[in-house]
């Protein structure tokens, strides 16, 4: 909300008091017209939810180019060129032509987020407000992006206002940290000392939870799962094929927590959707309790569907904007006809409490929640029914450490009590290390490593550029 | 095309009076587009209106005097037994394409018209006494017409039978394709006739241009070849309102029959720029008819049960007394109609029986009549019949005819005062005709008849009990009632009576019978209302069809008047 207010984008119903000053100019009183010149050109913003912030009907490249054209006099070609360059800067260089032409829904969460960042920096504004810019990025890319931020900051003097829950990010990038509680800026330490960040990094442990350890029997078996996307373009005839899954073999044991990690765009979310039967696999088998569900269609699929629940990476998009929070969390109950209306209401309050949302927000609609709150709503919804397998797709990235660890604790309790199986997709290796009993590493549509967390994670680092996460990096750059 | 000088030996008809100026064009807005140029099959008004200007007939009924006069036939004689006519044709005259006209064309025309394959709507007219008229060629300019029985005023039959050019149509006829000849897409050169105008150009949907026939066989008193005007342009105006608006805007020069509503509005809105004429009542008569058809085997028990009333003369007389004809004339026709009690409109001056009683409206009289017929009333005023059944029925009307629907609305209110529950159901014309003529699935209807000729012969099919328009009881083999038998006899007799005074006496009696027996409850005869631009010369509209253009060959536009617009 603070970020929105800065940009003057609050809905008219919201009352805004106080003043916002930018380069000596008062922004609160300005009209839309004046603000336009400020927005984008001098003030850039990276929104928290990439799925909502990108226009679903415009191609990624075009959306970036539009920003260029809004602020600089240049023709279409030049703008597109600039967009391309910006995309390369944020690490989308590998698949540039495809991603440039892709519509937002065809991109992975991380790819989308980088498009957003590219949008924000393409015009080299003086100040960039970045709301959780790196939440769904893997370590490498995150390092790249943060590196970029630093470079921009150093060379062009661009200021960044980073909003994040990740202490790493703050530690490596920020020059000043501000902590907010309950709508107020709490304390403003001039320089983020390594100690504060360190404390943050280490202190929150998962409270009272025990990692689920598998029972040994495989609940879900995946064999040779393949999924290829084709990006067809109606009018240009250009065609890109993406092999998102190239033959995934994997077993998930009942009662275990499988961590799944891998570079952005390597196919994790796709795998999750396929497993849950929400997307048809091109080839391969998905066996749940020994039944091959890839062969099933329609009604026969229903009982298995319920057993596997996905909490989508873009929680915001996965919540119907017309529903209230209460309706959202009990939706599965309604769908499956569980309980009376009163029961459900009761359960809704329970679920909200479980994810630490105040029960007086039951009547609010998704757009009135913060990013992290929405994520928690999605988790609560998935918990409403008792699925055998829960797949968390980057569900914890928007949460602050404390909340996150409390929720993880709750989950682990549940796991222990009911023998639930979790699949946790995340880039946060620390999280996986704590939460998962086993970790699988994906690369280019295949599972390449699998094993005990620490081992795999270590090898994962080793397989990449091991230097990027060096904790010794000095915090450089200034924030407003 | 300039009128050709009159050649020696060309027996042109020289009009006795009237003169005019050559040149200019006349713009006429038709209600709809014509469908064909073929005189043999044209059944719709717009086609006939156009074709009438392009063709000529042997003997013509003068629309203004309502008498027959020589046309393509210079003269004719009738044999003493009245069964044979000898017609002398004009010599030296030509079709509009310059080809000469002679007896062969006449013989061809009648043969073609009488051929079943042609399906000419005039065919039935040419069947006299059950047999087609026989037309034979005597010499190149004489034809003999033989009838199976004497036929009063047989010469009137020849009116509007367009003489076809044998040289152009013989081929199509031989192929049995005369009915498909001369569609709208025909080129101007392939059509010829003996009318004052010939086809110049037709643009689909837009307009039809006729140009002067340079060979036309009439001349004015000064021996100048007619017609005066260079061209007639027919526009197609979709609806009557559009017709009126185009006339008012000056885009069309003639208004051929306006409704009373529009005529009144036009008169109010700018009469100075137009010449509007109320010609008095025309031949059309509107009436309410009750379904008295034999319904056995039709599966219409409800209507059959109501026929008890419809067949009851007392009931019909009560209805007739209760109907407010004066209001119909005043409200529906804005006073431009006459109330009617008999089957001949006062517009038909020669044949109307002026002594037919015209009882004024009287609801109490009507109630008294009903009472004597055994009807009674419920306390709430509803009328019950002898068996205690509520008197309720529907009146069907043509929805495209606003006036008749309005009449029905008035009649309904009138009959409500008698305790009858009447519903008005407007129907699309085809559905209406289907019910009235085919299925007999109706109680009562408001219809109109009599647009054609003034002569009673044109109404044979209505009054003969075997007639195809004997609407109240169709398809009878033998007359159902004594009075219908009497009418049959009278009509048959007048047909063969050659003395016109005697015919009038016979037809007067028919009118009396009809007015007594009330197979139809006559309502009103509307006036013929026309208009023209004020500088149109020789404009002599008539109450007979075609009301304004019947003397198109003599119409002209005053040269000084042209500056006024």
């Amino acid at each position: 909300t603070l970020a929105l207010a800065l940009m003057g984008l609050l809905p008219p119903a919201a009352e805004l008091r106080g003043s916002i000053q930018f380069q000596g100019r008062e922004l609160t009183g300005l009209t839309d017209r004046d603000l336009q010149t400020v927005r984008g050109a001098e003030l850039g913003i990276v929104f928290q939810e990439s799925s909502l912030a990108l226009n679903p009907l415009l191609r990624a490249g075009v959306q970036i180019a539009e920003v260029v054209r809004a602020h600089e006099r240049c023709d279409r070609g030049a703008a597109l060129e600039r967009a391309r360059a910006a995309m390369a800067e944020v690490g989308l260089g590998e698949n540039l032509p495809r991603i440039f032409d892709a519509y937002p829904h065809e991109l992975s969460g991380g790819e989308r987020q980088r498009v957003l960042i590219a949008q924000a920096i393409v015009c080299r504004p003086r100040l960039v407000i970045a709301d959780e810019p790196v939440a769904s990025l893997d370590a490498d890319v995150r390092a790249d992006v943060l590196g970029l931020i630093r470079t921009l900051n150093e060379q062009l003097g661009i200021s960044f206002l980073l909003i994040t829950h990740s202490a790493d990010v703050l530690a490596t990038t920020a020059t000043r940290v501000i902590k907010m509680t309950a709508g107020r800026i709490d304390d403003r330490p001039e320089v983020p000392t390594r100690t504060t960040t360190r404390v943050r990094r280490t202190s929150p442990r998962v409270e009272g939870g025990e990692r689920g350890t598998g029972t040994g029997e495989p609940l879900v078996e995946l064999r040779g799962l393949r999924r290829t996307y084709t990006h067809r373009r109606m009018f240009s005839g250009r065609r890109h094929e993406v092999e998102a899954l190239r033959g995934v073999d994997m077993d998930i044991e009942r009662g275990s927590t499988l961590g799944l990690t891998g570079r952005s765009g390597c196919g994790k979310s796709t795998l999750a959707r396929c497993m849950a039967g929400l997307e048809p696999a091109d080839a391969g088998h998905i066996r749940i309790n020994g039944t091959d569900i890839a062969a099933l269609r329609g009604r026969a699929l229903l009982p298995y569907r319920n057993q596997l629940q996905v909490i989508f990476q873009d929680s915001a998009a996965a919540l119907n904007p017309r529903f209230t929070a209460g309706q959202i969390v009990i939706e599965p109950l309604v769908i499956q006809g569980i309980g009376t209306a009163a029961d459900r209401r009761h359960r809704a309050a329970e679920l909200m409490a479980l994810v630490e949302l105040p029960s007086d927000r039951l009547e609010s609609r998704p757009e009135e929640f913060s990013g992290g709150e929405r994520q928690r709503l999605a988790i609560a919804r998935a918990l409403a029914v008792d699925p055998a397998v829960l797949i968390f797709d980057e569900s914890f990235s928007g949460l602050d450490q404390a909340t996150r660890s409390r929720i993880l604790g709750v989950l682990m309790h549940l796991q222990a009590a009911r023998g639930l199986t979790f699949v946790c997709i995340s880039h946060d290796l620390a999280l996986l290390a704590e939460f998962a009993s086993e970790v699988a590493l994906m690369r280019e549509g295949r599972i390449v490593e699998r094993g005990v967390p620490d081992e795999v994670l270590y090898r994962a680092y080793a397989g990449h550029r091991g230097d990027t996460l060096s904790p010794d990096l000095a915090p450089i750059g200034a924030t407003a | 095309a300039q009128p050709l000088p009159i050649a020696a030996g060309e027996e042109v008809l020289v009009e006795r009076d009237g003169s005019g100026h050559y040149g200019r064009r006349l713009v006429v807005a038709l209600r709809a587009e014509p469908r064909t140029f073929n005189p043999a099959i044209a059944a719709d008004a717009p086609s006939r209106e156009v074709i009438g200007r392009m063709t000529g007939d042997l003997i013509h009924i003068n629309r203004s005097t309502q008498l027959t006069e020589a046309a393509l036939a210079r003269g004719w004689t009738r044999s003493t037994d009245g069964r044979e006519y000898t017609l002398t044709l004009r010599k030296g005259i030509r079709f509009s394409d310059g080809q000469p006209f002679d007896a062969d064309d006449v013989v061809f025309t009648f043969r073609a018209m009488l051929d079943e394959r042609t399906g000419a709507p005039q065919r039935d007219l040419l069947i006299v006494g059950g047999q087609p008229v026989r037309v034979t060629k005597v010499d190149a300019h004489t034809v003999r017409v033989a009838l199976a029985q004497p036929y009063a005023a047989a010469e009137r039959l020849f009116d509007s039978i367009a003489i076809l050019p044998e040289h152009l149509l013989a081929g199509a006829y031989a192929r049995g394709a005369l009915a498909e000849a001369w569609p709208l897409t025909t080129s101007a050169g392939a059509i010829a006739g003996l009318g004052p105008y010939r086809l110049k150009e037709y643009t689909a949907g837009q307009r039809l241009v006729l140009e002067r026939n340079p060979f036309y066989w009439k001349a004015d008193a000064a021996k100048r070849r007619l017609p005066y005007m260079d061209e007639i342009v027919f526009l197609f105006a979709g609806t009557e309102d559009a017709q009126i608006i185009r006339f008012q805007s000056g885009e069309s020069d003639i208004l051929n029959r306006a409704s009373a509503d529009n005529f009144t509005a036009l008169a109010r809105n700018g009469s100075a720029r137009h010449r509007l004429e109320d010609l008095g009542p025309g031949l059309e008569y509107n009436f309410l008819v009750f379904n008295q058809n034999d319904l056995s085997g039709k599966g219409l028990p409800q209507i059959e049960s109501r026929q008890r009333w419809f067949g009851d003369l007392g009931f019909r007389r009560a209805v007739s007394r209760a109907v407010d004809r004066e209001s119909i004339a005043r409200l529906v026709y804005r006073g431009r109609a006459v109330p009617l009690w008999g089957n001949v409109s006062p517009g038909n001056r020669r044949w109307v029986n002026a002594s037919i009683a015209r009882p004024a409206r009287s609801v109490s009289e009507a109630r008294a009549i009903l009472k004597t017929s055994g009807f009674s009333w419920r306390p709430d005023g509803a009328l019950l019949d002898q068996q205690g059944q509520r008197v309720a029925f529907t009146i069907v009307t043509s929805s495209s005819n606003t006036q008749r629907t309005e009449m029905a609305t008035l009649v309904q209110a009138d009959l409500k005062e008698l305790g009858m529950d009447v519903q008005v159901v407007p129907l699309e014309f085809r559905a209406l005709v289907d019910r009235v003529f085919q299925t007999f699935d109706y109680d009562a209807s408001i219809l109109g008849l009599g647009g054609g000729d003034a002569d009673p012969n044109s109404e044979m099919s209505v009054w003969l009990s075997t007639g195809s328009n004997h609407l109240w009881r169709l398809g009878q083999k033998t007359p159902a009632t004594a009075w219908e038998a009497e009418v049959d006899r009278l009509m048959a007799q007048q047909l063969v009576t050659l003395d016109s005074r005697e015919r009038k006496r016979l037809f007067d009696r028919v009118q009396e019978l009809v007015a007594e027996q009330l197979p139809f409850i006559f309502l009103a005869a509307p006036h013929i209302l026309v208009g023209a631009r004020p500088d149109l010369g020789n404009f002599q509209p008539s109450v007979l069809d075609h009301y304004t253009l019947w003397n198109v060959d003599r119409l002209f536009i005053q040269p000084d008047g042209s500056q006024r617009r």
Partner: protein
């Protein structure tokens, strides 16, 4: 939409419907009563000052007599005043089925006439016809719109949602319904039905015919919206919970189509009120002498009426008011339910 405006809207809407519902009481005359001496009489003039210049606190009217100076004009007969009275006894009407009354809100003594909006060509009071006609017209217009939209929404969403064969089938039907010459169905219906149809049956007939014929257009529009909406992540999520198609349609997709459906509703209501003219033309409408806005507007569409009698525009004005109100209502409702959708 401000509060005041919303309130004004509700008031107007309520007043409109109340007037129409209480037509019998508010209308001074029986809508089918013909004052045959006064066809096309202009709206009566209310006076407070009489011919002698005296002031009367109670408004009064003069009787109309034909004006000899014009062909069909009228003038006031100043010899006698007819004060306007409240709560007078007059023509009987039924308040509810079985309950009759003859009390009217306003009226004058005969031979005075209180033709507040003038008369039609039969001398029938236009105001009374307008009020009574509104019952059928507004009622049938609304119901027909509802039914057309309902069918359209259900079929449109089902088609858009299911895709494939069902979509093909529904769109085939929609094409059929849009391309077939309906006029003939009406002809056929007219031939099949009995000639005498009472008002209630006519009403149902109107609603059915319009609903059945009208669903295709909204269905197509809605199908398009659903096509796009069914790919949203939250639909996918609900599917993940094992939602059956019915649930998805009802909870996620139908609400999505409300915007389009509301807009269509605002368009269809006046359209269907007008469509009654066509049906009347074929003998399937309300029919004389029962008034309806459709037929009243039908008589306005004539050259002579249009150019001569301005007060005959009253039904058009009534319909405009209705259309504007309903538009305002739909747009207010739209504003309410509008949420982030894309």
């Amino acid at each position: 939409m401000t509060r005041g405006r919303a309130r004004a809207l509700v008031v107007v809407l309520a007043a409109l419907h109340l007037l129409v519902l209480l037509a019998g009481f508010v209308a001074p005359y029986d809508p089918v009563d013909q004052a045959r001496a006064l066809p096309f009489a202009p709206p009566v003039r209310l006076h407070v000052i009489d011919a002698d210049g005296r002031f009367h606190p109670r408004p009064f009217v003069y009787a109309l007599v034909p004006d000899p100076a014009t062909a069909d004009g009228y003038m006031e007969d100043r010899s006698r005043r007819f004060p306007v009275q409240m709560m007078v006894r007059g023509a009987r009407y039924s308040v509810l089925p079985g309950l009759e009354s003859n009390l009217h809100l306003v009226g004058v003594e005969t031979p005075g006439r209180l033709f507040l909006l003038g008369t039609d060509g039969f001398g029938r009071d236009l105001l009374s016809r307008l009020l009574h006609g509104g019952r059928v017209s507004v009622g049938a217009g609304l119901l027909a719109t509802l039914s057309a939209l309902l069918i359209g929404m259900v079929l449109g969403t089902v088609a858009g949602f299911s895709g494939g064969r069902i979509d093909g089938g529904v769109m085939w039907a929609a094409n059929l319904f849009m391309a077939v010459p309906w006029l003939y169905l009406l002809f056929a219906a007219r031939a099949a039905l009995p000639l005498h149809i009472d008002t209630r049956a006519t009403f149902l007939l109107l609603v059915t015919v319009l609903g059945v014929v009208g669903w295709a257009r909204p269905a197509r529009l809605i199908r398009g919206v659903v096509l796009s909406a069914r790919e949203r992540t939250y639909v996918l999520a609900a599917r993940g919970f094992g939602a059956n198609p019915l649930y998805l349609l009802r909870r996620h997709l139908l609400p999505h189509t409300f915007g389009v459906a509301l807009t269509q509703a605002g368009l269809l209501v006046p359209q269907y009120i007008l469509a009654e003219v066509t049906l009347s033309f074929l003998g399937l409408g309300v029919g004389e002498p029962t008034p309806s806005w459709g037929t009243m507007l039908g008589s306005l569409q004539q050259y002579d009426v249009l150019t001569s009698y301005w007060w005959m525009f009253a039904p058009a004005v009534a319909l405009v008011v209705t259309a504007v109100t309903y538009h305002a209502v739909t747009s207010a409702v739209h504003g309410r339910i509008r949420l982030v959708t894309t």
